[in-house]
Structure formats: C-alpha cells, structure tokens
Symmetry: C2
Subunit: 344 residues, 2 copies
DNA sequence: ATGAAAGCGCTAACAC
DNA sequence: GTGTTAGCGCTTTCAT
C-alpha cells in the first residue's frame, strides 16, 4: 500500500503565507539571520508554531549543500564486539552531544568486505563529517578521506602520518604506568601483564607503560601474554601466565573485560584476589564495578571522549580552529582487587 | 574557513553525458528499473564507475519524497544506561541489518525534557520509519506517531491499546517460568526473586513467570524484591532478601546484571554459588559469561531482536504485510551457577 | 530589511 | 525503451 501516512507536512511556503511575508523571510528566521525585524520574526514564529512546521532536511541540504549529518563509522568487526561497554559509552557521548546541536547522527557499519562502499558514501556528499571509532588497527581506508571530509578518530590511529589526522584519546602509556606503579607501591614484586592486541595503539601503549614502570623498578618484565580484549582471552592469557610456573603477585590487565576473565582463572586456581595476586584493569567500565572483588582500574572518561569527538568534528565542519589532538585524563580508581597502600 | 573540501561530487547529469544517454535512463539504471536495454545499462554502469558517482541522497529524497532514513529513538534515560550490553546488542542487530539495505540509521536521543522536539522531527518527514528501543515505561509520546509513520517497538510497549502497535519481543513470562522450573528441577525449594522494575513490561512479566512456576509447585512466593536492572540494585535487593532471615536456596534474577550484583552479595556473606544458593539470570549477555561462576541464564537473541525490528519497519515502509507482533525464542543456558540435574 | 527568481540533483509522469 | 518536462522544499544572490 505504500500508504501516504504523513498528513502533508507544512512547507515553508505555507508558513510564509500565514505570516504574510515572503519565503525568504521565513528562511531567514528559521536560520536565525539577524536581518529581520522583530515584528516579522515574531509573526513567522507564530505561524511556525500554529502550523507545527519542521524544515525539510532534504530540501534544505540540497539547497545549502550541507547535510548536517555526521557519520559514526563502526568497522564491522568492532560492531561484533559492540557489547564492549567502553565502546558503547563513547557512542553514547557522541549521540548526547550531537543531540544538542543541529547535527544528526548517522551510524554506518563499514563492512570490511567492501570498504569502498563506505568510502564512497562518505565522500559522496552524504555527510558533513565522520567519526571513526574502533579499537582496531589503523584502517588505512579512512586515513585519506580526512583530506576530503572532516574526520575525527577515537583513539590514536595506527598510521605513519599521524600528524595528519584529528583524534581524541587518553594517554595510555601514562595510564598503564600509573596502574603498574600502584601495584608496586602496594608491595607487588612479581608483576605480569595481560596485554591487549598489539596491532592496536591502545594495546601497544599500555604494554609500553607497564614495561616502563616495571623496568624502572628494576624488575623482570618478561611475564607478558596478550589477548584480544575479551574476557575469554583474558582468561586464556592468565592461564598461560600461570603455566609458566613463575611467582606472580600482581597483574595489570589492558582492559577490564580481560581482567574479569583473568580473575575468574585466578579464583579457579584457588588464588585469592588481592591477598595472593593483585589485579588492576583499564577502562573503568561496568565490568570493573561488578567484578568480585570490584576492580581497581584506570578509568577513562568514555562518554567524555565521545562528546569531545563530536565537538571536534562540528568545529571542523564549521571552520573553527581545533587542536589536532585532544588527550583526555585517566584516573586511578582504587577498589578491592589490590592491597591497601602501606602506612607512610 | 568552511572549506570546500569535497572535490565536486559527480552528478547524474555528468554520468548521463559520459554514457551518452539521458538523465532518466541513468536514474532508471541506478534504481534498477527493468525497462532499460542491457547495452544502455552497461554504458551507464561504466560511466558511474569511472566517475565514481554516488547519488545525492538529499536530491533523491526531495524528488521521491522518501528519505530512506530510519530513526532509532533512544529515550535519554535509556542512553544513560547505554552500557547495558543487551541494549547495545539490539542496536548492533539493527545497524547490521540496515547496512544490507538501502536504508540509513539515524540515532536520535529523545530528551525527556522536550519530547515534542523528537515527535516533530519524526513526523516532520525527515525519516521513513522509526524504531523505539527502551526498557522503559510505555512512552506514550510515541504511541500515537505510529499512526503517522511506521514505528516498531523493541519490547512490548506498556500501553492500553497494544494491539495498535508493532513490536518484537521475547516471551518473558515463559522464559522466567523456564528459569524457575529449572531451579525446582535441580532441587531448590526456597525460591526468591530479584525482580526488575515493575513499570516495565519485562519486569512485570518475568515476575509473573517466576510466580506462576513457584505457585504451581505449591511453594511460597513471597520472597520478592526488585531493582532497576543495574548490578548495584541487584546487590541491594539480594541484601534485603537475605535480611528477611528466611532460608533461600535458589534465586531467579530478572536480568544478568542484577544477578551479577546478587552473586557478589552472596559471596560476601560466605554463601557458595551454587552449593548453598543457585542463581539464574536473564538476557545471556557478557555479564553472564564473565560471572564467577558463569551464570545459568535465559538467553535472549539480542541482535536477532534488533535485526527483526529493522526488517519489520522496512517491510512496513515498503508496504508489505507484517505481523504486528514478533515473538523471538529464548533459550535456557545451563552454566555453573546452578546445581546439576539429578540423575533420572 | 525584504522579495523575486534561480536553481540544488534527482525522480516521475508523460510523450514519443 | 528512452527522452522531455516539471517540479520536490528550501537557500541564496540580487534587486529593491
């Protein structure tokens, strides 16, 4: 039936008629042009109200050559782990900020099979800007569109010419160092790490931070196993770590989900957290709160990251100057998975 | 600077010129009309390829009066708990399905402060259909737009005239019964429930399912406490349950997040799961997998629900006949938080 | 400050 | 089967 459900949305022209002005004037009012007398503006506003007028986006963008649409590009593989609470919070931050602006959020799942489809869609004039969120390896396909369209990455892109792209991130190295440092301060001396994927900046940087802190303390930094950031891989990595037979009294996990998995294994083996082994995670997500015991972790401002990403694209689109890089602060959240700090 | 970054996207007209046909023919090819000779179609396709032509959505929808945009409406309060993995998976399902169609996903955060803004946006001709996802109480504001625009709800809407709206859901009553039944079969006799919000259909139905199974077994159904579906509230409810001083050997929790919280309390009190108390959750999300022990739960096909919602709106938009209600199956996932079934 | 007129890039009758 | 002709609803010079 392809029914004509919409009861003929009122047009700008009807508003103009009712207000007794020309379409141009209505357009000016709608677009907040200062060159309109108060009376005219008032009349138009009343007409808009009584008619329940809503500008037609299609017409508007066709005429203005601006879509007011911002794409949120999610690589398909990331979509599969959409359940990652950190990622979900970033999206939430983006959506929340955009809802305060006149921009609209267009979620795009980028199939890895046909990356060109997405690329063309983006540079085909269908969006004014794009946000790329992914824990994944620097998708080179999106590196170049940054020259054609404002693009902001969530997390430092893993590319040679980093300097060319805009991104917002946290200092993963510093965060991991802080976590490791805390483990050391609470008395741990046999440190291990459940590292993240080494083809992702976050994975690489957090390992580097751990390593730097461990070396600085003059300790062994060979207890390294990594996983793909999922609880299951966290558990597997922990098993491999234990299997080495070396003593371990402190583990830094590159994210909370893996920490949750690792703690499960620890408990299976009869090791108490934190009495036998202390554990610190990274992210500060739901997993860390619900864990048993609650996880000491390096919290990232997830929704803040999303918010900031949205702010940056909008600024870029509107021609404002923006810093290429925004670093957001992390925060050590001390909870039950680590020992108390010794009296000082 | 509002730079003219886009290098003049090629228009349909240019394709027509290069292919040596009229714009109509190009349009026909793009829209897969059967009334085009193979040669013409081929020529057009080549032209499209060499030019890298992408149809302009704005122009297309202005002319065709179809936006090919589907709004995913997320009430602001829900956005705050976006970290709910179940919800995230639903969104993922929607996005995944839509990416296979020519429809685009427009995420809309509906501020509860100005519901009219969202309503107007939706019925203002900016989208072809809407999906409303929320654990929340029947948002009456969206009830009526269903008459103006194809709308599909995720979860049965809590409204008087349910029959009037399209929705996809799982049978929460049956799922809860199954869970409770399983608890009974494994020998539990002192059952309690950590119920969900009673202003949401899922909360009400799951409590009803538990109650029905408990009564059928001739047992006491007074051990009821509820929470808001968050881990924290699950923990609080469990504490209140324990505080009553009555024996409890089996708890059904209305979702996995609350079950995670409840298990934490159980462990705090020195009660072993499942030896002392068995626990069953609902959802089958990440929390249930990572829990310690892994949670026996009623799994919902979260991404499937999203997928189906997307299918339904698209069918509705394109005038196909669709069932008003789609019920998806739930599945009992037996894991470590319950006792083994007795030998039969 | 306001109006008139000319499109934006595409689809949709309608003729051929 | 294909081209021609009008717009879709809005913004935007350009006059006035």
């Amino acid at each position: 039936m392809t029914t004509e459900l919409t009861p003929a949305a009122p047009t700008l022209e009807q508003v103009a008629a009712l207000a007794g002005v020309s379409r141009s004037t209505v357009s000016r009012v709608v677009n907040k042009s200062p060159h309109v007398t108060d009376e005219a503006a008032e009349a138009v506003r009343r007409a808009i109200d009584t008619l329940g007028y809503v500008p037609n986006r299609a017409a508007r963008s066709l005429a203005s050559r601006k879509t007011h649409v911002i794409a949120l590009v999610v690589p398909e593989s990331t979509a599969k782990v959409f359940a990652d609470p950190f990622f979900a919070s970033v999206v939430q931050g983006v959506a929340l900020h955009l809802s305060d602006t006149e921009y609209t959020l267009n979620m795009v799942i980028a199939s890895e099979a046909s990356p060109d489809k997405t690329r063309r869609y983006l540079i085909g004039g269908n969006v004014d800007g794009a946000l790329v969120v992914s824990h994944h390896t620097g998708d080179h396909s999106y590196a170049h569109i940054g020259q054609t369209l404002p693009v902001v990455f969530g997390g430092r892109p893993l590319m040679e010419d980093e300097s060319a792209s805009y991104f917002v991130d946290v200092d993963n190295v510093a965060g991991a160092e802080t976590a490791t440092q805390y483990l050391l301060e609470t008395g741990c001396r046999n440190l291990a790490i459940v590292a993240g994927r080494q083809d992702m900046p976050a994975g690489v940087d957090r390992l580097a931070g751990w390593r730097s802190a461990v070396r600085r303390a003059g300790l062994d930094d060979s207890l390294v196993e990594s996983g793909d950031f999922s609880p299951r891989h966290g558990a597997d990595a922990m098993r491999r770590l234990l299997h080495r037979g070396q003593p371990i009294d402190g583990v830094f996990c590159s994210n909370d989900q893996m920490a949750a998995g690792a703690m499960g294994v620890l408990r299976e083996r009869g090791l108490r957290v934190p009495d036998d082994v202390s554990v610190v995670g990274f992210d500060g997500d739901y997993f860390s709160e619900t864990a048993n015991p609650p996880l000491t972790t390096i919290a990232q401002p997830a929704t803040g990251l999303g918010r900031r990403m949205a702010e940056v694209v909008v600024d870029l689109i509107e021609g404002r100057d923006v810093e290429r890089v925004t670093m957001m602060p992390t925060q050590l959240l001390v909870r039950g998975s680590t020992l108390p700090l010794p009296q000082s």
